[in-house]
Amino acid sequence: MNKIWLIIQREFLNRVQKKSFLIATILLPLIFPAIMGVLVYVAKEQKKNATKETILYIDESGYFQSDSTKYIFKPFHGSLEDAKRAFNLDESFGLLYIPKFELTDPNGIKLYTKINPSPTDVADIERIFENHIKDLKMQQLKIDQKLLDQLKTSVTINSVKISEGGQEKSSDSKVLFGVGMGAGILMYMFIFIYGAQIMQGIIEEKMSKVVEVIVSSVRPFQLMMGKIIGLASVGLLQFLIWIILISTLSTVVLGMFGMQSPTQEMMQMNGQYAAATQGSNSLEILNAFTQIPWSYVIFNFLFYFIGGYLLYGALFAAVGSAVDSPAEAQQFMFPITIPMLISYFALFTFILQDPHGPISVWLSIIPFTSPIAMMGRIGFGVPLWQLLLSMALLVGGFILTTWFAGRIYRVGILMHGTKVNYKVLAKWFMQRG
């Protein structure tokens, strides 16, 4: 035990004393909001200063209304062929050809451009027509705009979660979506980055051939576990520093910008949702944000990080011990990354969309996918039995992979220049002491 402790210390100090650790730990929490801020700023500026594009148009229908905030429409008088020629010579963005059409069947409108137009350009121009035709139809049908406005009703549903004790908590599914996504992605990154570091460390020991010197003093299993645990503690330290940095920073930022947190900005940017649902204004989002049981989420994140990391870390260790160079490791990375990728994609396609559906539930229980899948679900509330089952299976899972990896590791680290394939790994696994 004493020796494992020495190895843990060594691994921990090795990483923490590196400049790269310091930079990653302190800069990353600053970089993300900074990038977000810059993007938001640029997007806003672009909107403000965007030069209006010119579009030539030939209107044979007489229905076209040329007022738009985004484009300058210039009428062209002449045939379509002349217009095309003129369009080729000047700097206009597009040439819009509007033939005669019936209001009930607006067809045949064409937009000629020099470069492929973006979907939003096409949609914007379509909307100009749609709005104008709608107005015309309303006039035809003698519908008053006021009457129409009176028909409109805005409904906002406040979702309130009632806990078993009868306590009511308002929640916001969009905020939960964001939390699930963030936690899931963070989990994915953590497991991958730290798992890969275990592998890299082991390959380094093998390549520098220091490993046999070490295993003459400690059992190979102790060396492997020392490395895994040492790196885990580096990961946890990094995570804790991030939590502290982010929470203090956001408090500072919130104070400075008067409750406008960057996350909120993102939420609003994120979507037409936010624009469409008029009810959820920033204050409510903020409220929902504070309503999230953060300590519960963080506790679970830590549990699943440790569990998932140990589970995958052992597999990364086994791969590292089997190969002689990082390049050789590629072939064995594939089966390890598959369940990670499945859970990562499922996070967006199933789990966040339908956190209580059967696929989401199963993915959050199976040990190989549960760390990421459970993070996606955790904010939405997970039944206790599912959480406990998932946790128990995860613990069982990492004990199994550690045992499995240990058997390969003890043989692999002493092998040099062997051509390794799955058959060889199986043989190592079966080999006695």
Binding site: R10, S208, K209, V210, V213, V215, S216
Partner: protein
């Protein structure tokens, strides 16, 4: 040279054992066996390493030397047999007693020399303060005190070899196991290490030396064991082994060519050195006194020098190993 070594073929076909008279054994292995899926790496291996000696563990590549060394270091387990170290059954407490320099060796490139040695020493069970004291003594001895804060990657190969050697012996192990210690060492460092090995022996350490460099065996080893194809085929003190493989062959330098007739001697070879000077290789058919040969020689020629041609370890090694593979 080889052709001249006509050992009786029976010597090569069965393991020979010689009685060792010393009482305390640093290491005794009895019936040690290690099997892998496709082959047996060690088959009923018995060795006895007397205390305070330099013990040569010899054998061609793939004979099983490294496997045996790894078992002694408890890196891998044997499938059968027993090993005792200073009379005690091998157990994890012995790790601190052993200093091991593996054939596949290296250091952490990014670590500083001092840090690295402290780490290794602590893994061997030393406390930090003990480690620092002992490492300082060694660094001073090798006159490399100012390397403490140097990273290993900034050291030259020869410098790294010194550090590596220190890491093997700094915790004052009673049993030192060196697997091909000179491979990759430049001659200067090799000599330095040789001197250290002899000093360590004088101070009471036992050294197991695995190698196929026979000159070093000839110079350093007191006892040897020869392993071939996972079995011990020869064991004993260097003197005993050499005595056993004496072939009653003598080298004579003389003036005037001669031929030996009769049933007592074989004239294996006679070469001319200059003018009338010759060198002859004479083998006595029966184990008699060399005096008889000298007497007989003086009758036929003028003898300038006379010496027994003792087989070198290298010759014994090659004959035995070849004999095995011819079976």
């Amino acid at each position: 040279m080889l052709a001249s070594c006509n050992y009786p073929s029976s010597f090569a076909t069965y393991p020979f054992k010689f009685l060792t008279i010393k009482i305390v054994e640093a290491l005794v292995a009895r019936g040690v066996t290690k099997r892998y899926a496709n082959h047996t790496a060690l088959d009923q291996v018995d060795i006895t390493v007397p205390e305070k000696s330099i013990f040569g563990l010899l054998g061609p590549n793939g004979a099983g030397k490294t496997t045996l060394i790894r078992i002694i270091n408890q890196i891998i387990n044997s499938d059968g047999g027993e090993i005792t170290i200073f009379g005690q059954k091998l157990n994890p407490d012995h790790i601190g007693l052993i200093g091991y320099l593996p054939e596949e060796r290296g250091l952490y490139k990014k670590l500083k020399v001092g840090e690295q040695l402290i780490y290794f020493a602590r893994l061997k069970g030393l406390s930090k303060s003990e480690a620092v004291l002992k490492i300082k003594v060694w660094l001073e001895k090798f006159e490399i005190k100012d390397w403490w804060n140097k990273k290993v990657e900034d050291l030259s190969k020869g410098m790294a070899q010194k550090v590596q050697f220190i890491s093997t012996v700094m915790h004052e192990p009673k049993l030192i196991i060196l697997d091909e210690p000179f491979s990759g060492f430049d001659p200067v460092n090799a000599q330095l290490i040789t001197d250290e090995i002899l000093q360590l022996k004088q101070k009471g350490s036992t050294i197991i030396f695995s190698t196929h460099r026979m000159e070093t065996v000839e110079d350093l080893c007191d006892d040897i064991v020869l392993i071939n194809k996972s079995k011990v085929i020869l064991e004993g003190t260097k003197k005993q082994v050499k005595a056993h493989y004496r072939t009653n062959t003598f080298t004579v330098e003389h003036r005037g060519a001669f031929s030996l007739n009769g049933s007592l001697y074989d004239l294996i070879r006679q070469e001319t050195l200059e003018d009338d000077f010759h060198r002859s290789l004479v083998k006595m058919r029966t184990t008699g006194s060399p005096n008889q040969l000298i007497q007989d020689l003086t009758n036929v020629t003028e003898v300038f020098s006379f010496s027994e041609k003792v087989p070198t370890m290298s010759e014994i090694f090659i004959t035995l190993v070849k004999g095995e593979s011819n079976e």
